[in-house]
Symmetry: C2
Subunit: 286 residues, 2 copies
């Protein structure tokens, strides 16, 4: 956890440094620190470490880039034109604290910073750089990344699977692929792990939206119903969603490709997936 924070801190230093408009510099920090669970960069690290983590510098950059992309998406998704969310991670959202212009620009600058961080880390060994940029871009951009996922909300017809795969799954798949690529491994075999974790995360998020109150979430609750958005827990029922979550945790653990630290990674993935379970779920049968 400390490793992720240090990597983010180092990457943010220059962007917010001398000559940066002071409010933008401040907003960039506000968007990144303190973080949430940092689950995506933790996945990058966990996968790279399972593969021996031969290039920790690459791994740190990949983890930071994935987290910057995630933070950028939160900042933009919270804007009045989208969720109009007043709080995030237990504090006022960026557009509430800094105004809407700086919220748009902070998201933009974080996307740029993600790429800049990767390019800097890979400058002395560029063979993997194009692959890493492609992984991150596919996870984030059109046609199937998190930006496209968000854009599905503007369509009149929308499939739950396509929507959630792009909006949530793509960046989790990006995290496992980036972790493997940072360790010099062929990334593609790691996609299934990211897909399963992404779907588990989405089901858990839907459950929490249904079951938790705003104080527990650090953000508004019951948003899916209010916005008539597809919600897996509402579709499957709470018991069905809980069963699906267990299934996905098993599938994720089983999908881990052969690598030196496969066994330990299985333990980490199971523990992380359990952490996703809302505590209120204990009272519901699977």
């Amino acid at each position: 956890m400390e490793r992720v924070e240090k990597a983010l801190e180092a990457a943010l230093m220059e962007a917010g440094g001398a000559n940066c408009p002071p409010l933008l510099a401040s907003a960039l920090r506000y968007a990144v620190f303190p973080g949430g669970h940092r689950i995506r960069p933790q996945i990058v690290l966990a996968v790279a470490m399972a593969c021996g983590d031969p290039n920790p510098h690459h791994t740190d950059a990949a983890a930071s880039a994935i987290e910057f992309m995630h933070c950028a998406s939160l900042v933009h998704d919270d804007l009045p034109a989208f969720d109009d969310a007043p709080i995030r991670r237990g504090k006022p959202t960026i557009h509430v604290e800094y105004g809407e212009p700086l919220a748009v620009l902070t998201g933009d600058a974080l996307i740029v910073l993600a790429y800049e961080t990767i390019a800097k880390a890979f400058a002395s060994d560029p063979r993997q750089l194009a692959a890493m940029i492609s992984i991150v871009s596919r996870a984030v951009g059109a046609p199937g990344g998190i930006i496209a996922g968000q854009a599905w909300e503007s369509e009149s017809t929308i499939s739950l699977v396509d929507y959630q795969r792009a909006k949530t799954g793509a960046l989790f798949a990006g995290a496992t692929l980036a972790g493997a690529a940072a360790a010099g491994r062929d990334p593609e075999p790691w996609r299934a792990l990211g897909d399963y974790i992404g779907e588990a995360y989405q089901v858990a998020d839907d459950l929490r939206d249904l079951l938790c109150d705003a104080e527990e979430l650090g953000k508004p609750a019951h948003q899916d119903e209010r916005r008539a958005r597809p919600n897996a827990a509402a579709q499957l029922g709470i018991g069905g969603a809980k069963a699906r979550l267990t299934e996905l945790a098993d599938a994720a653990a089983a999908s881990i490709p052969e690598c030196p630290g496969a066994e330990q990674l299985r333990v980490v993935i199971r523990a992380q997936t359990r952490q996703l379970f809302p505590s209120q779920l204990e009272q519901y049968a699977a």
Copy 2:
């Protein structure tokens, strides 16, 4: 000119392809075509060609990336939270045509696409990739790129030089640097040319804002005064601004580093700078 359009078309193809939410795919095209003067990608091409253009594939990607970044900045700058502009390039702005959520997402996706386009073109020859990404990132992100330039507008004190260097100059410098790097040249000696063209463009833009009407501009006029933004033409007077424009064109032409096509590039730069002159300027003495 045709070369720029073809390169943009090819780069946009995949992003807006199968599985892309249809409105996002449509908005991406709408943001890029038909273009304005394409002055930034033309500069990338002109510089690369002056250097012999040994890697046209790299040059096309660099030119497309710079133009995608420019289009992204226009889409976001036109948002209600910024300029609230109803028209751009003579047609309704993206948020008017597609709604604000898709306008934010289109800008985001264009930033990602810029990097993806570069990574794809340089994948088979990655030595220059890190340098190219760094050039583009510095031109666009914090602390000194066009995003930072826009962010200066949220500060209570603002220097005309810092503001315009970041908001306009940075992407012009990025264009000359990218053109040189795409041709395998050391990019740094090309910075002065980009700086001069950027400043000339800004002075001309300030003059047009002062002198033209909305129909000629394809966007609202007299915005600087309305927004109390620094305007070089207002500060120097129209005659002073015209003299400054001539000075900058001379300085730009004189700054061109030694290269096979230096003489021809000087002619192009002078012609382009003349094109920047608003036609109303003829009646004012320099």
